[in-house]
């Protein structure tokens, strides 16, 4: 199992993994020893190897979400040693490598914990609440065709760059998992800011923020008390500035509401 670095010594670890059959059964932490882990492995590859062993022994492998394994799809979502996406800052679970752990370590792996993210099985949670918040208003109302030329409305580079920064949210849910209130403010604020910044998004900015925040409350996410834990754990560095922006947008929208429905 040695990797590209000839000096890297394989490690032996103990994993404590949350096992839960389905939404309706209680779960528990189960210990698994893993041997000969190469420091060059990614965290998920380490779980792959463990799962191979489990399957051969006729035990159920550990279920976890993942797809791109490049830090961009937002599927992976492990709570590792009490931290969303593990110990490295600015890193998704799939981008985390075993070289950040030591021989003999015990590693606890849990799912995101939030009332709005019920566990489907083991480490797989239901994040569909996020999709519903986006459906409540995370868009600009244009149909395909009949739009102006792309260069008709110039957008200052600084504004475009800021909108881009907010738009890079990968919808992973680490912000919610990291927050003691399980608030979704950072996630919602990223979308609200992106669209409020762009000239194309201005027409609907008031209804958008009202509707998205309302849906966030319906989904059962907690209130934001400004602890900043979300931004500290966000793998793509979505900034707290966005939450301030959301607050301003929301106050203005409420004061001059255009929501007739």
């Amino acid at each position: 199992m040695a990797g590209s670095n000839p000096n890297a010594k394989p490690m032996n670890l103990t994993l404590k993994v949350w096992r839960q059959k389905n939404r309706d059964t209680a779960g528990q932490l189960v210990s698994y020893p893993v041997k000969n882990v190469s420091p060059d492995m990614s965290f998920l590859e380490m779980l792959d190897v463990l799962n191979d062993d489990l399957e051969i022994r006729n035990e159920e492998p550990i279920a976890f979400d993942h797809d791109c394994r490049e830090g961009i799809c937002g599927a992976c979502s492990l709570f590792i040693n009490g931290r969303a996406h593990g110990p490295e800052r600015g890193t998704t679970t799939c981008q985390l490598h075993m070289r950040h752990f030591k021989d003999g370590d015990t590693i606890t792996i849990e799912p995101w914990r939030a009332a709005a993210f019920p566990v489907h099985k083991d480490l797989v949670v239901d994040r569909s609440a996020f999709d519903r918040i986006q459906q409540a208003g995370g868009y600009i109302s244009v149909n395909t065709g009949g739009v102006p030329d792309a260069n008709e409305i110039p957008i200052p580079k600084t504004v475009a760059d800021k909108a881009f920064d907010a738009a890079t949210c990968i919808q992973c849910g680490a912000c919610v998992a990291a927050c003691k209130n399980a608030s979704a403010m950072l996630f919602v604020s990223a979308k609200v800011s992106q669209l409020a910044l762009l000239p194309q998004g201005k027409t609907e900015r008031k209804t958008r923020v009202e509707n998205m925040v309302a849906q966030m409350d319906i989904e059962g996410f907690g209130a934001c008390t400004n602890t900043g834990a979300c931004a500290a754990e966000c793998p793509v560095g979505i900034s707290l500035e966005n939450i301030n922006k959301l607050r301003r947008e929301f106050i203005v929208a409420k004061a001059t509401s255009e929501n007739v429905a």
């Binding site: 792959d48 399957e55 961009i72 459906q135 395909t144 102006p148 792309a150």
Partner: protein, 644 residues
């Protein structure tokens, strides 16, 4: 069966407009009487579903991820082409058309490619209107970069995350239709079969990936936008879940599969580090603008390097072989993807590869850093250097990157006519899962363009022509055709679960991948292909007698999901080998060793192979039937590519 591409008459530049005028329309009030299924929510599927919803159809959209926004399109980095000519550097619809046909090594359909170039300009307008934050210059207008295979700057981008931003645009349009009740999205739902009634596609059978429930969905037409099949090689730059199952099961129901052996190997990926490797990470093509590719001049030096006796910075200029610059002085490190990949493989086959495995070459930025300064290089490639460091634990500012080619994209796919309809009436294919526009080689930044062209601007028109001739009647899901398909899916799952053999699904997938990589990868020859075919058949038999799938069908079971996908990959692999064997010429990404120039360059054979090879299923283990669609070139003159 006669393949009718339904290419409209007339000059290439007028075909699409004429066709749009000639197709039948569904009256706005009647659109709500039709149901359309869209499988896949990547760029092609999300854009199609949203647009069809806007038009008034009832749409059901499916994906296997937990959210439509996680489709593999999200991972595309570099950019999207469009013939906007904003840079005033001589670009035009015609030039984009020409570059794409040439880049595809003259194995694509002129009419389709021309239409693609035409609608490319609308895509950018659409995305900007949706709020896609493309890169801009200081004047506030859109910025462009250049990509391989083009002499103009026509690539629009959003830092290194273009696919993400485009997909989020399409996802937002989709969400808006969900809010309006015109689209219903089924995440974590996998299509496992196509249902046909009276010879027409009328629905699908799916598995709910959370509950395991097998369900039927009925519609008047079905669109597959399920992406590419690069994961047949096990290791590729595709996401872990990317698979061929939807397309393959449609093939088994009678849709023809075109040019399956046309795969693209990307030259600059991070090399394999160990047996546990689960996927490969792409390092953008743009790096070759400043990086120099080299290996040690001799096998001896390479060996000492691999053993760790010397380090890369001990190797002097005189002992380095910048093989691309040496062999291709005109293009140097910027030769097209297939040429760069093949030459890296050649160097490693000679024993001059680097890294502990010997399967890597260097991509060296030392000269560029000396010339432009580290800050300038960091500004251009900072995020890529960071990603490289994260994965390899090496600092590319101090020592050259190690790179190796990896499977990246599949040009082959379901055969479609000009309307993007497969050979099954009512079954359409869009995006990477069809074969249509890239011939034997895709140019960088053209897949995103094609996916959105198909979904926003082509299918919404062409599907109306079909539906206008369909009665409104719905087929109930208790129709025998649905019942039979459901039973077949259940039986197949039960069979997989009951084998209880000794080997994991992944072990078969890895074994298959190695065979394909060795014999149907960067270079192919008759003997190797014959051997691969036998091996694949052996793997298929072993799989169906010795695979171990744990758990049960009626719950979340990721092993069962993979088992279904791998079973289909094994069958597809055989078809790829058949196709590669049939095509005894080299073109684009398909290099047949028997067909090369004295300088070892790819040699096309237009006399005998200027056709699309479309294969018909005749039963597992039987020889598939070949149908040929002859390609006619009325606008572009065929020439041999040369990059010397």
């Amino acid at each position: 069966m006669i393949l009718d591409s339904k290419i409209p008459e007339g000059p290439v530049a007028e075909k699409w407009d004429k066709h749009k005028f000639n197709v039948k329309l569904v009256n706005p009030a009647n659109k709500r009487k039709y149901d359309i299924i869209v499988v896949g929510t990547g760029l092609a599927g999300a854009s199609a579903a949203a647009t069809l919803g806007e038009l008034g159809y009832n749409v059901k959209a499916f994906c296997f991820q937990d959210s439509p926004r996680r489709a593999h399109s999200i991972a595309a980095q570099g950019g999207i082409n469009a013939a906007k000519n904003y840079q005033n550097d001589g670009d035009s619809v015609y030039r984009l058309f020409y570059d794409t046909v040439k880049g595809g090594d003259y194995r694509s359909r002129e009419a389709n490619v021309y239409r693609l170039a035409q609608v490319s300009v609308n895509i950018i307008d659409q995305c900007v209107a949706q709020g896609v934050p493309f890169a801009r210059d200081y004047g506030g207008l859109l910025a462009n970069r250049s990509f391989g295979g083009a002499q103009v700057s026509r690539t629009f981008y959003a830092r290194g995350q273009t696919g993400q931003q485009l997909l989020l645009g399409a996802y937002s349009a989709l969400n808006r239709q969900v809010a309006y009740g015109k689209v219903k999205v089924f995440p974590r739902t996998e299509m496992l079969d196509l249902v046909m009634v009276d010879g027409k596609a009328r629905g699908i059978v799916t598995r709910n990936l959370i509950t395991g429930k097998i369900e039927s969905h009925s519609a008047h037409a079905v669109i597959l936008a399920t992406g590419g099949y690069g994961n047949v090689f096990f290791l590729s730059t595709n996401a872990m879940g990317s698979n061929t199952t939807a397309a393959w099961r449609a093939y088994k129901k009678g849709a023809l599969f075109a040019n399956p052996c046309f795969t693209q190997i990307h030259p600059t990926c991070i090399p394999v580090s160990g047996e546990y490797q689960s996927k490969l990470t792409l390092m953008s093509e743009s790096l070759r603008n400043d990086g120099r590719v080299w290996v040690p001049k001799t096998v001896e030096i390479a060996e000492r390097l691999r053993k760790g006796e010397i380090s890369v910075n001990d190797i002097g200029e005189a002992d380095r072989d910048y093989f691309l610059e040496r062999k291709y002085p005109a293009f140097g490190n910027l030769v097209p993807r297939d040429v760069a990949s093949r030459n890296a493989k050649l160097a490693c086959d000679e024993g001059r590869g680097v890294g502990s495995t010997g399967l890597a070459v260097y991509l060296d930025f030392a000269d560029a850093i000396k010339r432009d300064g580290q800050a300038a290089i960091a500004a251009k490639y900072g995020n890529l250097f960071e990603m490289y460091a994260k994965i390899t634990d090496e600092n590319p500012y101090e020592r050259p990157m190690r790179i190796y080619p990896a499977v990246h994209y599949t040009m082959g796919g379901l055969w479609v006519d000009y309307n993007l309809m497969t050979t099954i009436p009512g079954l359409y294919a869009a995006g990477e899962c069809n074969f249509s526009d890239h011939g034997a080689n895709r140019l960088g930044a053209s897949a995103l363009m094609q996916g959105l062209a198909d979904g926003y601007f082509v299918i919404p028109y062409t599907i109306g022509d079909y539906l206008a001739k369909m009665p409104y009647d719905k087929v109930p899901t208790d129709h025998p055709a649905f019942r039979e398909a459901e039973q077949a899916v259940i039986d197949k799952n039960n069979q997989l679960l009951s084998i209880q053999g000794t080997r994991t699904v992944d072990s078969f997938h890895k074994e298959l991948g190695l065979i394909m990589w060795e014999h149907c990868g960067m270079a192919r020859n008759e003997e190797g292909l014959r051997f691969a075919k036998q091996e694949i058949r052996r793997i298929r038999e072993a799989f169906w007698s010795d695979v171990k799938v744990t758990g049960v069908g009626e719950e979340l079971n990721q092993t069962l999901e993979r088992a279904n996908r791998v079973a289909d990959f094994i069958e597809l692999a055989e078809l790829m080998v058949d196709d590669a064997q049939n095509r005894n010429e080299s073109c684009g990404g398909h290099f047949r060793e028997e067909s090369q120039t004295p300088e070892n360059e790819a040699l096309r054979d237009d006399e005998n192979y200027a056709y699309v090879a479309a294969w018909e299923f005749t039963g597992v283990g039987n020889e598939p039937r070949l149908h040929k669609e002859d390609l006619e070139f009325e606008n572009v003159k065929l020439t041999q590519r040369s990059y010397k």
